[in-house]
Symmetry: C2
Subunit: 112 residues, 2 copies
């Protein structure tokens, strides 16, 4: 079991902002996950990978593929108090879910 | 309500590793939070700040102060498969909790 979080590289987020948006997406997708899958993922150390996404469009496309795989997803939009325009899409979390299903969605992306 | 996540600057984490460790701490502290406080925090947009910590010792000291404030805390140790030695303390999450209580713990730290 793992969770993949895709963060956009094309909007110039600073490190702290990026980390906060990754955490937001991670928690929101986790909350949509079945209790059983939550437990399994946590007992395995809540494995996470953070990956590079190139555009808002790519995040939406990946979310659609993840939906078809039956994986929980969450797309985060920044509130825009700092750095970004309000409503800017920043991150997508996919899973937690089985490694092979998550890889079918995000397997082509580079590690952040 | 907010959550503060303190990440060490003295261990050379890459951006993706740092974001994953911040997410891990965030979720683990959230899981120790009362249902009522979870709901309040989420309805306010699950506000998070990522802050700079200078050492493992500092993270433990801040966690003790947070305990005394009655705030949920979580210290994360990396599994050490990549970049870091196994068991390296990387991040501390404080809250979600009332802004003033979180600020009494982490108010002196710089934004990441």
């Amino acid at each position: 079991m793992k969770q993949a979080i895709v963060a956009r590289t094309d909007i110039g987020m600073g490190t702290g902002k990026l980390a906060a948006q990754v955490a937001h997406a991670s928690l929101s997708a986790y909350e949509q996950t079945s209790k059983r899958d939550r437990r399994t993922w946590k007992s395995g150390g809540q494995k996470k990978v953070v990956l590079k996404g190139s555009s808002e469009r790519e995040l939406h496309e990946l979310a659609e593929i993840a939906d078809r795989e039956g994986l929980p997803t969450s797309i985060v939009r920044d509130a825009g108090h700092t750095q970004l325009d309000p409503g800017t899409v920043t991150t997508l979390a996919v899973g937690p879910g089985p490694d092979d299903a998550v890889d079918r969605v995000t397997g082509e992306l580079s590690l952040f």
